[in-house]
Amino acid sequence: MTGTNHLWLLIQLRWRIFLNGLRKKNRQAELGVNAVGSVFVVIFWIVSTAAFGGVTYTQLEGQGTQIVAILLWVIFITWQLEAIISSSGVNFQEIARYPISFRLYLFLNVCYGIFDPSAFLRMLWLLAVWVGIAVAKPEWKIAAAGLFALFALFNVLCHRVLSGLFRRFQTSRKGREIIAIMTLLMGVFFQLAIRTWSRFGRLHSSSSLTNFLEPVGRVAPPGLAAYGLGAEGIPLWSISLLVLYSLVAFAWLWRQSQRIYQGEIYSESAVVRRRRKVQTRWVFVGGDPIFDAIVEKEFRYIRQNLRVVFQMLYVPVVAMIPILSQRASRASMGSRMDFFHGLFAAFLVYGATSLAYNIFGMDHTGFSRWLVSPILLRKVMTGKNLTHGAIVAAIYLVVSSGMLAFSLISWLSFITTTIAFAAFLIVILGAGNMVSVYWPKRIDPGQPRSQVISKAAGYSALLTFVFIAIFVGIAVLGVKKWDFQWFPLALGVATLLLALKLYSFWSDRAVNYLQDHLEEMSSELCS
């Protein structure tokens, strides 16, 4: 069998994995969401590619190679970030089991990086930038073709190295937690970067940071590919360094692949050998030992899978950075801080869906344990809801108390927001019980790149904001129309009562649905 046949097989395998992913039982909603999502993805591909080409063409005359450098940096960073945040369909350890030579294995590994959809998109962007250059400055097009080809090769190799590194890193719990923290920090970093970007003019004119970054940028791969364009004659310096970078990446990939090919196993059991102390004296709810046991188990599980908490915090933290970075007191900000506090509560409630919308996702085969145990499923759900609700409420109270202590928000605002927060949290927990049984998803702690809730659940989580918007709309209308400052509080209390009713209704329905679909749930969570 030739290398081409193997390559063709690999492409077919990838396609088959994709198709089989759509064939899950009772996942019509997922399929629908995937179809809608695919349309958006195609639109994004077309629009973003056109944007890269268009920006290059229109800005090249005015900004020269600098605009190319910026675009190549975007391509470089997003290409390499895919190694961390997107999921990979094929584990190359498995491919190494087949009777293929190491050279062929390495070749397939590199090719897999080329046929990766995310890599394909970046190559499209790169092509669009090249087309923009070819139209705006035809004299650069040959140099650009050579430099971009080297740049693309380096990116492919670097992406495969990073994918391998992260796969290895995530085999340990600690590694996964570090990745989770890094992901959160990256979100924060990008927020700060965007803010910095908006003040780019000021920074550019005076900052010593720019003076420091510019030479670094010139020897980094995107800078080399971009600034090499302006060179007279053949850009030997850029080509040499890009070849050198590619060789280093290739050597690294060679070594990494060789170790996997020779049988080094990345597995959970090979890495996690940490002893932990047994604590069995936790008391939470009091009075009911079964509730205590469920809550204790759930806390232990969340502590083992901190990623879900980070995922929950990600949205409010990233969304609130611009607000938290405002150096302002209540006096100078006026009622804006009350608004921001409400916004934080809303984002936190939305973030809570990552815990509440897949309550059995971490249990795996343990899900069957709930079924064989002499307890009502409603009790299990309530125990889990209590745990998740307590975590979210604790975060809210810590932040809100801080804001209150520094007089950033008023007492009335605090009480009103807290009641509304509690109401929406209860709604989320109740709706989450329904969503968890309709669209369960097995959370794999060994795959930090996989989502913690299903896509359908993710879209239904967005509905949270619709409900919150309606609530806020009515509250604002009440205050403006009747000049009744206490109206939001009254509305909050009414919503809370309604939320309790809804919680009970949805939880009962979820239990009934679960009883009728035990097999589907088990096959999704336990397989």
Binding site: E268, V272, V278, T280, D363, R369, L371, V372, P374, D516
Partner: protein, 260 residues
């Protein structure tokens, strides 16, 4: 008259057009060690899932300790222990945390749960691994943990789905020891297994299922009396011979896989 602890009548389960279990009648008496056998895909796991509340029957009735399972599931589950397919372990807990948790789920107080956890870990030879995550256990250790979890609340009846599958000889001996002790103290066991030698050695009564229907049932002697092999010698039939005769062992075609 011996007490009937498990009684299933007209049990049927379908998955779309597939009939996994059909018109199944079962009776198990107290202190019986009942082995439930069948070829792959015969309906063993589906049956045990229905008997333990992991799957709802499409039709039929299950009574355990005289209680209707559908209407008294909590009370029944309190009195039975289960090692289901897949073991149903919370693998992100340590062995001791898991057993303690399961004990408390069955209503044991903390002190009793802790005490029994320690004793079970000791009996199963898992004390040194008590603080390791279950995810890090070997397959045999997981099986032992699952069995420990099934007995921690001192059930009256055990349902075990393939308890010896993938277990080494040392672990199997430990498991068998525990099961014998359980029967001696008045317990009842319902077990599915592919390992006919184990069933023959352990079980007092046997049921054989094929294509979702019970095709033979009774004590080993009753089965022997009911099955004769044409041209066979007079020595007692082994369970393997009985099994192959009842389910119809496939004849090997000499021409098949000629390339192998």
């Amino acid at each position: 008259m011996p007490e009937i602890v498990l009684e299933a009548r007209g049990l049927r389960r379908t998955f779309a057009s597939l009939v996994a279990v059909d018109s199944l009648d079962l009776t198990v008496e107290r202190q019986q060690f009942y082995g439930f056998l069948g070829p792959n895909g015969a309906g063993k796991s589906t049956t045990i899932k229905m008997l333990t509340g992991l799957l709802r029957p499409t039709s039929g009735e299950i009574r355990i300790f005289g209680l209707d399972l559908e209407n008294n599931s909590v009370e029944v589950k309190r009195r039975i222990g289960v090692v289901p397919e897949g073991l149903a372990l919370f693998e992100r807990l340590s062995g001791s945390q898991l057993l303690n948790f399961v004990g408390r789920m069955y209503g044991l107080d903390r002190t009793t749960a802790t005490q029994r956890t320690d004793e079970l870990l000791d009996f199963m030879g898992l004390t040194d691994s008590a603080d390791k995550l279950v995810a890090d256990y070997s397959h045999g250790m997981k099986k032992k943990t699952a069995l420990a979890a099934a007995v921690i609340h001192r059930p009256e009846m055990l349902f075990l789905d393939e308890p010896f599958e993938g277990v080494d000889a040392i672990a199997a001996t430990t498991l068998k020891g525990l099961l014998h002790r359980f029967i001696e103290r008045g317990g009842t066991i319902f077990l599915t297994s592919h390992v006919l030698e184990v069933v023959e050695r352990l079980c007092t009564h046997i049921g054989i299922i094929q294509n979702g229907r019970l095709v033979a049932g009774g004590s080993l002697n009753e089965l022997r009396a009911g099955v004769t092999i044409a041209g066979g010698d007079q020595s007692p039939l082994t369970l393997e011979e009985i099994f192959l005769e009842v389910v119809g062992g496939t004849k090997q075609d000499a021409g098949a896989l000629s390339w192998l």
